[in-house]
Symmetry: C2
Subunit: 465 residues, 2 copies
């Protein structure tokens, strides 16, 4: 019998190669100072027009007679349905009892979000795309190399080929650096996940229009700008196996996993899909489905005209949050090692009850009617933080293919014992960025906002220690 070459279970050299790319603020191709000009030029090379339209002007989309669900006549893409979420109190869960209805996007198909990497001059570069999404406030942002559903790249849309997809699927794909199913927004999607991939190219890679090679250091610089690096790029970046250190942590990994298990166990949540026209508290008009008190988000419709999409024009529904979100990690050093305060969150669309989110994740307008005591924890700490405590700040938008002007201000705020005690309150835990990176190797631990924050932490001194 032939002897078979075994591999080491971990590629020891990889974190160092990623660290080298993170340290490279100059790329072999586009200079960072030229990036803005390049993106603007890509914008001028294509004309996009996005307009709000009444639901009646949607092409191929309609409200299903029996349910009121918003569906496409092909049965493809996604549907907008109703969701009924309940959380039980004792003896099944800690409670308190909660019960709400909301619209939700159902899109069972898994998409590929993939970044292709390749060494130039001994440094890993990331192939990024200037991509238009109708919901982005500035339309064009930097996306992964590939952002496509399976029916996309198997041609069900009868659109153009998905560029570079052969590096991610099929027999000739490159070397896998990360490949994990990660959740999308649990408040807006029903159990949606996407395949987050980082792949190292084998052989030459032609550089096509709308694409550019950047080092991780360059991307980190861009992550400090508002509305440049799109959500799909941020979540893929969060899955990178960045440099591990031998640093300790307040909780051992076993204790951290146990805490997550405990949080999942103490929340007894049920989410049932229900007809969209049956959900109390929401009303449907010609232009929008809205919450009666004007809170949370609206379901709206847009028409899109573009030239460099898979198809050249279309209409579609989008979810539009009612206000800008605020998303923040509080950070402290313990024993010299930076920690961030994660929050175990219940969102109705999560596959597995609870995922870890940032310390604060909320849309202030949704809570403006509540007394201070009922507002989310640590909110005032973030709102009142002095500028010199802010270690990171940028506005990013969520997935522009489904969400319209869904902007959040992302912050990392350094705090002290008085503001956020070592002994974290129930539902919160102090963890290191390195521990978040270990969790991001697996699905359903970190929600999409925490993954954006992890990418941002890695782009700052807090993450790189």
């Amino acid at each position: 019998m032939p002897s078979h070459t075994l591999q080491s279970r971990e590629t020891k050299s990889l974190p160092a190669r990623i660290a080298l790319s993170a340290a490279a603020t100059r790329g072999a191709h586009l200079r960072t100072e030229d990036f803005g000009g390049w993106l603007a030029e890509r914008g001028r090379a294509h004309t996009f027009r996005v307009e709000r339209i009444p639901f009646a002007e949607l092409d191929g989309w309609s409200f299903q007679e029996s349910t009121g669900n918003l569906v496409h006549r092909s049965g493809r893409f996604f549907t907008v349905e109703g969701l009924h979420v309940t959380e039980q109190g004792e003896p099944y869960g800690d409670g308190p009892y909660a019960d709400w209805y909301q619209p939700i996007i159902k899109q069972p198909e898994v998409g590929v979000l993939g970044i292709l990497v390749k060494e130039f001059d001994g440094v890993l570069h990331f192939l990024m795309q200037a991509k238009m999404e109708p919901g982005n406030p500035n339309l064009l942002q930097l996306s992964p190399t590939v952002q496509a559903t399976r029916s996309n790249y198997t041609k069900a849309h009868q659109g153009a080929d998905v560029k570079y997809i052969e590096h991610f699927v099929g027999p000739n794909r490159g070397r896998i650096i990360a490949d994990v199913l990660q959740s999308e927004h649990g408040s807006w999607f029903y159990r949606k996940s996407n395949r987050n991939m980082v792949v190292e190219a084998v052989g030459d890679v032609p550089l096509l229009d709308d694409f550019c090679w950047l080092t991780l250091g360059q991307i980190h610089e861009l992550l400090h700008r508002d509305n440049v690096v799109n959500m799909d790029a941020r979540t893929v970046l969060s899955c990178l196996p960045v440099q591990e250190t031998s640093d300790g942590a307040l909780l051992s990994d076993t204790e951290l996993l146990s805490w997550i298990t405990g949080e999942r166990t103490r929340h007894c949540v049920q989410a049932e899909r229900v007809p969209l026209d049956s959900i109390p508290g929401w009303k449907r008009g010609e232009m929008a489905i809205e919450h009666e008190a004007g809170r949370y988000f609206n379901v709206v419709a847009v028409s899109v005209r573009a030239e460099n999409r898979e198809v050249t024009g279309w209409t579609q529904p989008l979810f539009e949050p009612v206000g800008q979100g605020l998303t923040a990690f509080l950070t402290r050093r313990f024993g010299g090692v930076p920690h961030v305060l994660v929050h175990a969150r219940v969102e109705g669309g999560f596959l597995d009850t609870v995922e870890l989110g940032p310390t604060v994740q909320y849309t202030p307008d949704n809570y403006a009617h509540l007394p201070a005591k009922k507002r989310p924890g640590f909110l005032d700490t973030v709102l009142q933080a002095d500028t010199d405590r802010i270690r990171y700040e940028a506005v990013h938008s969520e997935e522009g293919g489904r969400f319209l002007n869904a902007e959040s201000r992302y912050l990392v705020v350094e705090v002290d014992e008085a503001e956020a005690p070592l002994d974290a309150p129930p539902g919160y835990a102090w963890v290191t960025p390195a521990q978040l990176t270990s969790l991001a190797r697996h699905g359903h631990y970190l929600n999409v906002q925490a993954r954006t924050m992890l990418a941002c932490l890695n782009a700052t001194a807090v993450g790189t220690r």
Copy 2:
């Protein structure tokens, strides 16, 4: 600000302490040769009687008028409902298209399956319980220290206290060694998971009736006997952080996780709960709900009389498979390191589409009507294996609280290139037992049969290398 003591992220000494217990075939308490007598004595100390009854004689259970679902009047315990499972073909998944209906148990509540460990004479001992479950063929088997739902231990059943529960939940619990939500049988349960815990006791632990302290080496010996170590004990044991080695593997961990992600992505499965009385192919009689062709399993009812359960007598439904199952890992050495061939399985009740199962997992009677080509892969290899190729063999039963006489023969069979090639067919992959142990630290990677097999591998030379 005080300086805070950080911990190492991994407790380096733990695998060695577990290995020491695994090497200890003599315990500080019960001798292995006396175990059979002890278990028999515990059986005599209590009288149990389990009888099949018609559904009409169930106390508190009835078929709900609108759905035909089998429910308890309290709304607690579990329900038997219908499930409609579809798997899509292109362009959403690899297919082939599949579509079936079946009864399924819905029990949203998470249970605790916990083993308490403690050092005696410097060796970790495991506190095991002689526990009666009505579905066990021999009624009494060895279970974890604690096997309870939340409403169990918070007294909703108005039953006796759950012994030793204070070591697993609440402020005075012990030191966590493992704590992970793991799936139950995906073919019989709808998205059920239990909390698998191993906890090291702090302080003295009184030894109560029906409990015994055993080393891991002793438990490994008992795992070679038929129907002694129950399913709950086996799944908890599989989560132990056993000795890691620096051995390589055919796939790196990143490649293995990528392969799992790919298997999840290529299967596009939807499972919808439907009324039990609406499912085609199944018929309800006075004594059973059966498949029309007599395949798969029956839903039946039993009456139980016992003295040492939380309550002293009850009736309940159980699922009864139509025949003995066959569950096997094929094993080969590559580069001197043992590997087993895992199978990415779709089961209708899985939370996340696919989990890894053993190479072969099936009930032969369900496939007897099919031509050889349509029978499960590697089945004949297992059925025709010479005795001298069998590295492990025992009959174990599945959870006796829900399943009646659900026995499977568990095998580890050594094979060669002709029987199972290095280049595994689609849906299969060669992995090391150490890699399975890493996966078992997280939920929803290994199905319950694979976890039983992992516990058995660790009990044999194959697992311990």
